[in-house]
Symmetry: C5
Subunit: 158 residues, 5 copies
């Protein structure tokens, strides 16, 4: 049986992060043979957690990427916190990894840079999802290395 | 069997958002044939989550709209956070979408504008609930497009 | 069988809100015939949630009023938040309404006014609990009307 | 069968609050006849909740005292909040009272006063635990009386 | 049957804390005879909780060390809070101790000092995990002694 990787994004986000996540997964070994991708879109990032849980429970996804973007207002930070808490609960209720790929609009002033952070973060975490499923030693090899997604790696403290 | 869409609102809110949600649902294809609407009112927005859960568990609702309004005091922001966390837990415990339609009184200084934000947000999210149930491709088509409810869309970052 | 309404309060609070809640319930139609009241007291408001859950699970209460008062220190606000989160979880775990009747000591500078806010809020929410059980249409009739407890209604935005 | 009361404390705390809790319980009627005490120590207060849950589930404790002390840094306040949320969840998952006996180091500047707050709070709450189990009317008698632990009672508002 | 102790760390952290945790466990009595160690790496610390839960449920770990590092930005503090809340929920859902070994980058300005805090905290908590499993009296002996990990003990208040 073919494994399934879920990808959920939102209408609220201002960058099509799912496109990059899907593109990255398409380059992974075993695409369409060992695993296939299931994709859903929800209105906003508070709707992500239950959509992820539904993909795991009903669509048999082995891991899910949750893609979202937070606005710049104070209330947006609270909403991002609630969305993240939901993802945490969904992980624990299903005992399944859900990779949170959130970008805060205030991470970059320049729209072009912000878009590239979104895209790069989506790609890097798509790869992480793949590794968690099929090559966990790739993660252990990088343990404590200050790895980042969307910005350059911070690197290890020497 | 006819599907059921739940709508829960509060006595606390200062705008009758349920009227708009109900009106929008009445314009959706299949109204009263494919789906019907069940409506409840609770005292305040902390009572919404359990009311939504009861509609899902006991009234067989396939999706629920939770309509609430937050006041302007600091404690109101904490209460809104608690109400939102409750909705998140209710979603995950039932594996069912619950669309949060909250308006903060400080989103607009002008009462008329505030009321129109409330009404528009209720309508837009009523449509989103319908799409989640019957036309999920409408959501995917708008993924990453910076879609908003109550205010103009932010649009995609180009 | 006679229904049961639970009332839980604290030693910490500085006003006997339970007295007012009990008095209001005693004026409701069906008192001692259709429903009876069960009352418990706990040390502080973080103990309310589990006491409410025990009343629902073991004493068969159909709804519970949780009465508490928060002090004025910063840590008191955090404690109130934790107490409220507990009530939210208790509601969802039991699929039962629990009406939170919390007063913050800083809601009024004058002790007399503060006491009257406590008493009025307890009475109004006791009536709301009764309505939720037996006359839900009373709540729907007031949907979006800016109804308050302890202070004058904010009223609808026109 | 003899009931069991649990007492859990931490290595992190700077006062031996368990000693006072145990001493107070030893003065309660029925000590070693009607009830016995089970005691555990964990590294820090985030470890308290699961230790309390284990005492309830595996050691058959009917109620538990959770003793902890929070430092003065900002991060310590967040940790205290997380520890408290854990206790709340443990209560609700077990439907059992867990009395939180937390002291914040900034409650008193003087070390001697701080130590006496710790000891007094531990004693008062040990008594509350006993009352919850065997003399709940003692709590109801003091409802709304502004009862405190470690500092003088605030008293009722008149 | 040999017991299992889990160790989970992240690629995000900038110090290889797992190396020290593993080294400390290797010095504990019964290493490889009474207990063995299972190690996993995840992308960031929000992924720790579910990885711990999976080690407990599927790899039969009797206790788990969760190693993570928080950055210095405001959003990093929120993320750390979410990661900690996840660990708390994982503990309670499994009734198993999970020792949180988090270091905040702002705990020390000097990189060398920060690294030594990380390493020392990992070692001390690895020892605590061992004690919780096999020598709980070591913890009780130090109850209320102001024990710290990574920095000098605060000591008891006299």
């Amino acid at each position: 049986m073919v494994d399934r990787i879920g990808v959920v994004d939102t209408m609220f986000a201002r960058v099509d992060m799912a496109a990059d996540a899907l593109a990255e997964l398409a380059t992974c070994e075993g695409y369409r043979e060992r695993f296939e991708v299931v994709r859903r879109t929800v209105p906003g990032f508070k709707d992500l957690a239950v959509a992820c849980k539904m993909l795991i429970e009903r669509e048999n996804c082995a891991i899910v990427l949750a893609l979202g973007m937070a606005g710049t207002a104070d209330v947006d930070q609270v909403c991002a916190h609630e969305a993240s808490q939901g993802l945490m609960a969904a992980r624990l209720m299903t005992s399944t990894h859900i990779i949170e790929v959130f970008v805060h609009e205030n991470e970059a002033d320049d729209p072009g840079l912000l878009a590239s952070v979104c895209r790069e973060r989506a790609r890097k975490h798509a790869r992480n999802a793949y590794w968690l499923l099929y090559e966990p030693e790739q993660l252990t090899r990088r343990a404590g290395h200050g790895i980042r997604q969307g910005f350059p790696d911070a690197g290890p403290i020497v």
